[in-house]
Assembly symmetry: C2
Homo-oligomer: 366 residues x 2
Amino acid sequence: MKDKDYLMIPGPTPVPETVLMAHAKHPIGHRSKEFSAILNRCHAGLKWLFQTENDVYILTSSGTGAMESAMSNLVNPGDKVLSLVIGNFGARWGKIAASHGADVEVMEVPYGQAIDPEALKARLAADTNKEIKIITLTHNETSTGVTNPLADLMAVIKEHGALSVVDGITSIGAMDCPMDKLGIDVLVSGSQKGFMLPPGLAFIAVSERAHEARKETKYPGFYFDWVATRKSYNQETTPWTPAVNLIVALDAALQMLQEEGLQNIFDRHTKNAQILREGLKEMGMKLFVEDESIASKAITSVYPPEGVTVPEIRKTMKEDYSIVVANGQNDLKDKIFRMGTLGFVCERDVLTALASLKATVKKLAK
Amino acid sequence: MKDKDYLMIPGPTPVPETVLMAHAKHPIGHRSKEFSAILNRCHAGLKWLFQTENDVYILTSSGTGAMESAMSNLVNPGDKVLSLVIGNFGARWGKIAASHGADVEVMEVPYGQAIDPEALKARLAADTNKEIKIITLTHNETSTGVTNPLADLMAVIKEHGALSVVDGITSIGAMDCPMDKLGIDVLVSGSQKGFMLPPGLAFIAVSERAHEARKETKYPGFYFDWVATRKSYNQETTPWTPAVNLIVALDAALQMLQEEGLQNIFDRHTKNAQILREGLKEMGMKLFVEDESIASKAITSVYPPEGVTVPEIRKTMKEDYSIVVANGQNDLKDKIFRMGTLGFVCERDVLTALASLKATVKKLAK
């Protein structure tokens, strides 16, 4: 049915009508006082959401652009980067670092698991000459639905002293990720996730330590350069023409999030994920991440029931019930499917999805 | 008056209601067949607009992101880049190239003038060892309202053999810029210009020669990398989550442009700029670019009349007549103002602007 599809993928996520309407207005000039006022409100709202006193820069790009920004501003050819990988998106950090000439070491666990802080501690203890300059990690791994024990990992990294670069793309605005309290140096996210916006904006919060490290970078590039970005930020503008409409929409979305309140947002995501997981288990389905302590509050990965395939489930869910769920990625393709409860999602949406999935499985198992 | 402002700046430019409405729809999944169909139509439309058989990639970024993409994919540290500068945006190429380690030589003329093909010919004739790898140039210089003699310059560059990288940000969709006919290697543009879209997308057309040169690039970066981009393009998708809503809007805008027809689009811009220039002269105002042969069809720069300042004109135009015109940039700030007739602009808009400017000057001259 045309225009009826409901997205339960990890992104894009549903967008509130209030935000879509703000987004649909005619663009205004980006060098105007009106736009600076909007930008200032957005910067304040982002600092609140990232729980930081650091600058949070708005980039016109995908979330991957913010990841690139982190690496292009920090990496010199030959720099040692330790990349903690628990899925596809964690692996992306290493690829980006390598594209800027970094010497990348990967610490990986089987997909579906999280990084063990003790294992990280042992690896960093062996780095007696402090050769590791940067450690990249993922808060919530979108490809598997696993959330790393971020606070414990950050405590280990802080003891070592390397720069910590964290992917918060599917966690910010859904799960507690207090940048300053945890001592994160660089934290990135993207608009089409917990922010309840269409894709097209990315966000990057940068600590003073990271700005200091930037000073030693030989080939920082231009578009994502923090020096130009910070200079414009301090002048209440952006260095290049930004995605004006998306920023007007961000202003509306941040206002909605602030009205709801940080703890309420986290509680809502926790509750919705819990209801989804319980409902799936009641239907006899096997969860990909059984350990509750590392199961994501934003994305739930599930095995299909016996005798039914992932492509069949996705096809029937979409064609008969207008609900879009995601496939697994790479080795997990057609082995699991993923349901997002990230962003503008209420309990009714979860019940609707469960009812539709139940009907889907019933139909397919015949 | 709230919501009444009409933009006559060089970007963002006015957006048709049809396009805004397409842009306001709920985002769809970017890994769906529906989205691939939209993307394919956009790619075909862009090839038509760029007048090329080369791939035209859609980037989620500002136009400056497409400029970065050109340099990060082509420049190795130490490479010699000749940058032809006739204004602020021309100068940006050199800065980007330098940020990737290029050895940049600038060939500059006073702002308000174009590059003389004979002067370029002489410079390139002196490059007997063919040390110049890349030549950057601007088709239409947004900061001054000057259009370079692109066909003549391209003929000289082709004779030399360097890679030509052209900023078509304010010319594509407004002025004739036939990529293949002129032999341009890399051509970039941005959505908030002739494309009649909000800002947030950029476009880059890449020749086979440029793709060949990319193979030798040591630190190409990741987000803008042509190898990943081309691979996804051939699979009818994008490497990262794109600005889905803007691409749906692009589909609508390209359909409008195709219905109008290429020559009609160019003729409309030529006519509107002509009417604006004639009207300004009739009012006794002095044009910044008097030479008709290099005067832009997209942006017209004007000196304020005797006894009236640029800030006064901009303030009155905006506050009393809800028309936004742009200031000059850098050395030209407060010396000239700039009026855009780029994109979704008809003759009525030009007459309205002239009438409002006339009333503004009358009011201020009292």
